[in-house]
Subunit: 151 residues, 2 copies
DNA sequence: ACAAATAGTTGCGTTTTACAAATAAATGAA
DNA sequence: TTCATTTATTTGTAAAACGCAACTATTTGT
């Protein structure tokens, strides 16, 4: 059988390029990491800086500065948490939300196009497979988490 | 049904972190992009600079400098092509090959671990799904290729 | 009340990035 | 052949991203 990593590498590379391309559409023009940040903030319930930096596997100091940029661009709002004033809660502004939604729509549109080359059954199978894969990756504590992050 | 992009995002993020982590193991200590470069050179038959830069969606000038670094580190060899002296052919040195192999083994080891949480049937299904996905992504010319690369 | 832990920021030097322009070699047309 | 054009790669340069160390501010535990 062929190299499994190869399959993953090709798939994630393509999806990565898609993500990248979708950062510069029409009104939208942000960097790839910024797109990821918007995505994660949008997905979660007013997360803290640490939380988002963590899932993205980013150094907190780099993340801090990226947030500063996004705040300057008017895409993200930083709200101090009343019960713990060390913590800042992140949320998207209306424009940030708009951009995140635009990117999301664009990516889903592309994915639909890809799935259009399959039968409905194949599509279901593929989606179930990825879901299963994600569950198994979550189980496996070996790696994949930003453990040894800093060199 | 849930957002399809979400599934992809989670999967590729995990795999991305895995890739990142596997860059700094033991003797190996290179950046993520450098790891990708080594991987692609290893995979192909003495490719040119353009070719590798292209599949990685990298700007050729950035790529050029990364190659210079890898050559300095003694991991990559740049050989001028006799029949067209403008192009350079890329290949891995013994040490570059060793590092690429080490990373590859490590990643595959992790993937095996992930698959160990599935039945043999599920594993087969997942692998076939990813393969199918890759084929369909290749068909779709909408995006995913480094078309609009530069902003 | 105070040491220790936690969340986030800033200083600073290194690396990465990409546009513009340069070099060098091949190709095509006159 | 010669010269303009195209192609592959490199270099100049400046901006952006990165991450360690050190700092501030706040909370927690004793």
């Amino acid at each position: 059988m062929e190299n499994i990593r190869e399959l993953f590498q090709v798939m994630t590379r393509r999806f990565g390029l898609l993500n990248k391309n979708c950062c510069s559409i029409d009104a939208v023009d942000i960097s790839l990491v910024q797109s990821h940040i918007l995505y994660e903030i949008d997905k979660r319930e007013s997360p803290s800086m640490q939380q988002v930096a963590e899932v993205l596997g980013m150094d907190i100091t780099t993340f801090s500065r990226q947030i500063q940029n996004l705040v300057k661009k008017g895409l993200v709002k930083k709200t101090p948490l009343p019960e713990d004033r060390r913590v800042y809660t992140l949320s998207l502004t209306t424009e940030g939300k708009f951009i995140a939604t635009t990117i999301d729509r664009e990516i889903n549109r592309y994915l639909e196009e890809v799935f259009s080359h399959m039968t409905e059954f194949e599509k279901e199978t593929v989606i179930r497979s990825i879901k299963l894969l994600n569950e198994c990756m979550a189980k496996s504590s070996v790696c994949c988490k930003p453990i040894g992050m800093g060199k």
